[in-house]
Symmetry: D2
Subunit: 338 residues, 4 copies
């Protein structure tokens, strides 16, 4: 970390600042430019809140040299992490597809869609039991009953399930019934929840917040790893920009950036990113070509009657065709999609 | 709500769609342009999830005519809501200032700062006991002990307190010890939490999410009002944009927009919006001139040693000067700042 | 177009408004909801500036039903446009790669790089002669001399060239020496320039503005087509968002959106989008998988000494490898890359 | 400027890089952290394009210590610049209001509105003769005839005029007929135009680009000052964000940021920032309270019939009331509005 002092900084102020860092166990390195005094702080600066240093009125700028994340850092662990979701490996050579309806609506619905998506090539069943809805007047999900329906489908079709958690209080149900616990975009910085998820060893699908930087996203993953749970899969689902022709803007570049910065796997959610079923195939192929480890896609038998997000759900036939096309792209980039 | 159908829509599809709406109790109004069929849906369309209609492949566009929020809508309640926070009225002619440190750090700290901010003109004491921090390695707050310190300061100095809640589990402590419960930007769409806050009658300070639209913000307020608690104060604290010279971008326009759309009061947080103490005075004056009902400002005896957000905290003398200047601006727009 | 009137609108006001539209040759369609009066305006509403209608104080909302663009609209011309750049077709089954240095630096440089990129598989040579630089102290380009160097390289290696125009005054040189005239992101709404380009028949590469919506981008293309020049190729080069780990955010979704809205071809610039050579390969493959008609990539013999944008330029060996990988992806989506 | 090298950098690479900077006349300062090698580059680093250094594969990060702008920098000239627009001083104690229609529509219109806005308190008349319109089918302005109308109004009412230039070719007309030449948001990075404006001595009103950073805006001003013209007034007119309830988002914080970074004056355009006449008064008062040196406001006799931007134009009576209210705010922050 490098601190640039203002020209007006007094010797006394500088001495006090230097003393503070020395006391905290850092080494200092002083450097004098033509007109500016720079102070290099050497040691584990990830524990320093850089912004807070601006409270010193005589500090002009603070420049960070190290990333603020540790355990998720690829420099800390160079080899790729492979997360095992009840037998399905994510982060290896094989690209994994998760699919299913936005919301669990009934036992019948899930029992119909589960074999369809499995047969088409999906390896994990998705379905929301607790739904974060912008409006209090929209369908809020079936709750624990929804989780039970997923659990039963898993037993019947041998298809691990992923579902979103919205409250710490529901954690026991998720541990029991779900194979992969999803943290939604709106809860990416629900730190109380992240801390609890760090204490278990179940895999976590951590969605990127709608306006989170990649660094903040990795810091949220760091919360989970710091707590002791290293089974984290990142999920990019579109970020908020000024463009309105799609629901969000898929940040496709996040794939190579994530691959560079961290050892954790990354999957893409083209359904939420685009918000329109007609764009999902194009984005799915792009994600695999760019190097994603998997996809999570909304599929519904009758999107028109879906209780949530029908506009971005694919019908079974379209989903089946999409998987075939994605397989060809996977092979063209030396991956498999089994 | 108006639905524009594609040219390719068949008579059968149209009939099915019309039937759906009629069954749900809506009236229909059909209109034929030169080349397009428009369908007007008449009734309480706030219950319809507009996006989901795009699941119908033969629908081209859906246009909303009504706002999706009801109880927070100024059309529903034209007169301003005044929220009473333990005797302090927010939303009336008087502009209210809340001030204090970002985080509660010790009993000594709070006992020193409380009389200072009160004497300078603040009416409510702020202080975080549970802190949402991007890094798991940063100070996470004193927890319940911090709330007790605030409660004691309130008793001692007769100064109502506001503090941020991060987890439903802590709600009983907040009900007992805090006068105004803050929902932070990261939890604006923590719907499980909002629902619980709708069940109590304590005033809520609802911060805008870092990338939330004004409409989403009002929908989150609607969650609380729909639950039965109408004591909601909105707080704009800067939104995320591409500009990096300030921590966030204060959306000053949100003040007149909010005043037009809703009857709820709005206060501004210039400290988080700018992220630098040197910009706080300018933004505070602007907020009052634009019509804000109050301000929430970070003040710290020694920002350099603050455990959180020292860079945006004012020293007592600067805060005192700021209140005086704000009072002059308040009077220039026919408000008071007592 | 649908106009929603305020409840307070008087009969006289409504009559006046209706009269205005009737005089302008539109048909009207009136519709009465439970509480709102809607007015449908039928005819070619692309000529109406919707925003300006809000000047009527009694108008609540104006909803557009038609897209504001005509000649670029796929509804107007359903089949794909193929633009012929001196023999190279863009917009057909074959994916076309354009490559070369950010800036023309010398005759020697261009004569070295031209055969390299041609041999690797590129079909068009890029090189900036007039450079838009944020700083007045940066290299501003070789000007007309640079265009001559490109022209000579074209003759020598039979390789059409693309270069950016910054001023109308230079147009005669571009018409004479360049095969494809690039309008840069900063000039996407330089309407005086667009009008001039509409008067010629040379192909135009129209880059998307750094914060332009897809609709604004298409409206700029409409300027050129409305002038009479239908040889327009769109180029997405990343948009500005809050994310800073890449220079811009590549809007990969723009590919399927553009394919839906317009008949014009689209190429992707992964070099400017990411701003880092290490991400270019991943984004190039993604672009082709998503359906792009071509790529424009920065290549430099020695990026370290490049006078502009060295950080995002590939070395020849990496570019050669990239083309091979892109060819495999192209084939996996039933395209060719010859 | 500080360069952080990768661990993999070889001695030979480092030596080559150091040699390059030494040759260019910089001093070097080497510093070794626990695990990283830092290289400090001392001298006038504003001439270095920082991004281009990333072309060196063994460079990890480049950190800038100096601002990239020189002549506009307040460190270079601490005292405020006051720009004299034909007798009207901008940047001093008095807050200056410019007002008038979006577009010049006829001699009659201007001759009516000019005395109205002057009488209400405006000091400069605005009016667009060349209009940048998103659609080629919208009114494009009266051109040179519009400038003549403004010139005549100036002579008749002794009211200096400001108008937007869109093409270098029109510069002679602007020099002759206009007192303050406006560079619109879309042309903020039309560097060919900026260079020409640097060669004259007429005052320039430089609007911020719709998605430009404050730094880029100052770099565009630097183009003009570097050319020799120091009569530059900055104009904030709202930036593009995800929020759609206003046309743009007024970046009110830019006022204190600009006041800190540069000596140039800043005025605010609340009409374009909000895009709705009903928000203009609130934003005008906020701008003055925050420290703006002036306002530029759209006023029209009959906004409903305006050929451009009627939705954001105030009627004369509302404008007159606004000026009175703004005067009170100006006085409350120790400014005048004469």
């Amino acid at each position: 970390m490098i601190i640039k002092l203002k020209d007006t900084a007094t010797e006394k102020q500088i001495a006090k600042l230097k003393n503070k860092f020395l006391k905290e166990g850092f080494e200092l390195h002083e450097s004098l430019g033509t007109s500016t005094l720079l102070l290099g702080i050497i040691g584990d600066t990830t524990v320093i809140d850089i912004n807070s240093l601006y409270a010193y009125e005589f500090i002009d700028t603070v420049l960070r040299v190290q990333e603020p994340f540790k355990k998720v850092n690829r420099k800390f662990k160079p080899e790729d992490t492979i997360v095992n979701v009840s037998g399905i490996e994510i982060g290896g050579k094989n690209v994994v597809i998760m699919a299913g309806p936005c919301a669990v609506e009934s036992e019948k619905q899930i029992n119909e869609i589960a074999p369809i998506i499995k047969d088409a090539g999906a390896k994990i069943l998705r379905g929301g039991a607790f739904k974060p809805r912008t409006s209090p007047y929209s369908f809020q999900g079936m709750g624990v009953e929804g989780l039970e329906i997923l659990e039963n489908a898993n037993k019947k079709y041998n298809l691990p399930v992923v579902s979103e958690i919205m409250s710490i209080d529901d954690l026991p149900y998720f541990i029991e019934k779900v194979d992969l616990i999803q943290v939604g975009a709106r809860n990416m910085q629900n730190f109380a929840l992240l801390k609890e998820l760090g204490k278990i060893d179940k895999p976590i699908l951590l969605k990127r917040g709608i306006a989170s930087t990649i660094e903040e996203w990795l810091m949220s993953a760091e919360y989970i790893l710091a707590g002791g749970n290293s089974n984290v899969i990142l999920c990019e689902r579109g970020i908020r920009t000024y463009e309105t022709s799609t629901r969000n803007t898929l940040d496709i570049s996040s794939i190579p950036v994530i691959k560079k910065l961290t050892h954790l796997p990354i999957v893409i959610d083209p359904s939420h990113a685009s918000g329109r079923w007609e764009y999902v195939e194009s984005l799915s192929k792009a994600a695999i070509a760019a190097g994603a480890d998997g996809l999570i896609i909304e599929v519904h038998q009758t999107p028109e009657t879906a209780l949530s997000d029908g506009q971005q759900s694919l019908k079974p036939a379209k989903f089946r065709a999409l998987v075939k096309k994605c397989r060809r792209v996977a092979e063209a980039v030396d991956r498999t999609l089994k």
